[in-house]
């Protein structure tokens, strides 16, 4: 069964460092998302990406964050100058249709720990 894969599964970084989280969405999906979940809390929307551009972003997704689809398979989230409060599980998701009406397939997540 096709699945969304994320790397790394866990990354520890020092405050102020840059981090890149990688995702390989399901191959025929066109809509891509990043969500994050601080330990024990709700899942929060960060950004959606379609047709090689950001289609929507939340208030959390400020200038510190960026997304890119550098080739036909990878979808990356870059966090510049990480802060302690960026520590969270970051989930990538993809969908064959817009998230407004379609099922999101989540990856297993990348746990980011900022020290």
């Amino acid at each position: 069964e096709p699945e969304v894969t994320q790397t790394p599964s866990h990354q520890v970084t020092q405050m102020g460092q840059e981090v890149i989280l990688r995702c390989v969405p399901i191959s025929n999906h066109l809509y891509f998302y990043w969500y994050r979940q601080i330990l024990g809390q709700k899942v929060e929307f960060l950004v959606s990406f379609y047709n090689n551009e950001i289609s929507e972003k939340s208030e959390i997704f400020d200038d510190q964050f960026s997304v890119e689809r550098p080739d036909g398979s990878n979808f990356t989230l870059k966090i510049r100058s990480t802060k302690l409060e960026d520590s969270a599980m970051y989930f990538c998701a993809s969908s064959g249709t817009s998230g407004r009406i379609g099922e999101l397939f989540f990856g297993e997540g990348s746990r980011l720990t900022v020290l």
Binding site: Q41, K42, F45, V47, I101, E103
Partner: protein, 111 residues
């Protein structure tokens, strides 16, 4: 604004039923339900669209009252595998497609 879920937690015996509610202060285009087990990714359960269309698993049922901006998820004859945290996610109008999730309802099924 995030939807409000209730109850925050439920403990059931295997075979019992549960209802999880989700309400929003904003007009909704769609309501989505996901279940997350500890340490795992959220897994899709159901979508309810404005206008009455539903997509989801056969063993899960839900309702969507558009006027009241409320949705309920019905879990009948619960099984041990139903344990987890249930999140409702909402999409409002205006072309947005990012889900705004509630804080979740923790469901524990005991044998």
């Amino acid at each position: 604004q995030q939807p409000v879920q209730s109850p925050q937690a439920v403990i059931l015996r295997e075979g019992e039923d549960a209802v999880i509610n989700c309400s929003s202060s904003k007009a909704l285009y769609s309501v989505h339900w996901y279940r997350q087990k500890h340490g795992e990714a959220p897994v899709f359960l159901m979508i309810l669209l404005k206008g009455g269309e539903q997509k989801g698993h056969e063993k899960i049922s839900a309702s969507f009252n558009e006027k009241k901006q409320q949705s309920s998820l019905y879990l009948t004859a619960s099984q041990l595998s139903y344990s987890g945290t249930y999140f409702c996610g909402t999409v409002s109008g205006g072309g947005a497609d990012g889900l705004t999730f509630g804080k979740g309802t923790h469901l524990i099924i005991q044998p």
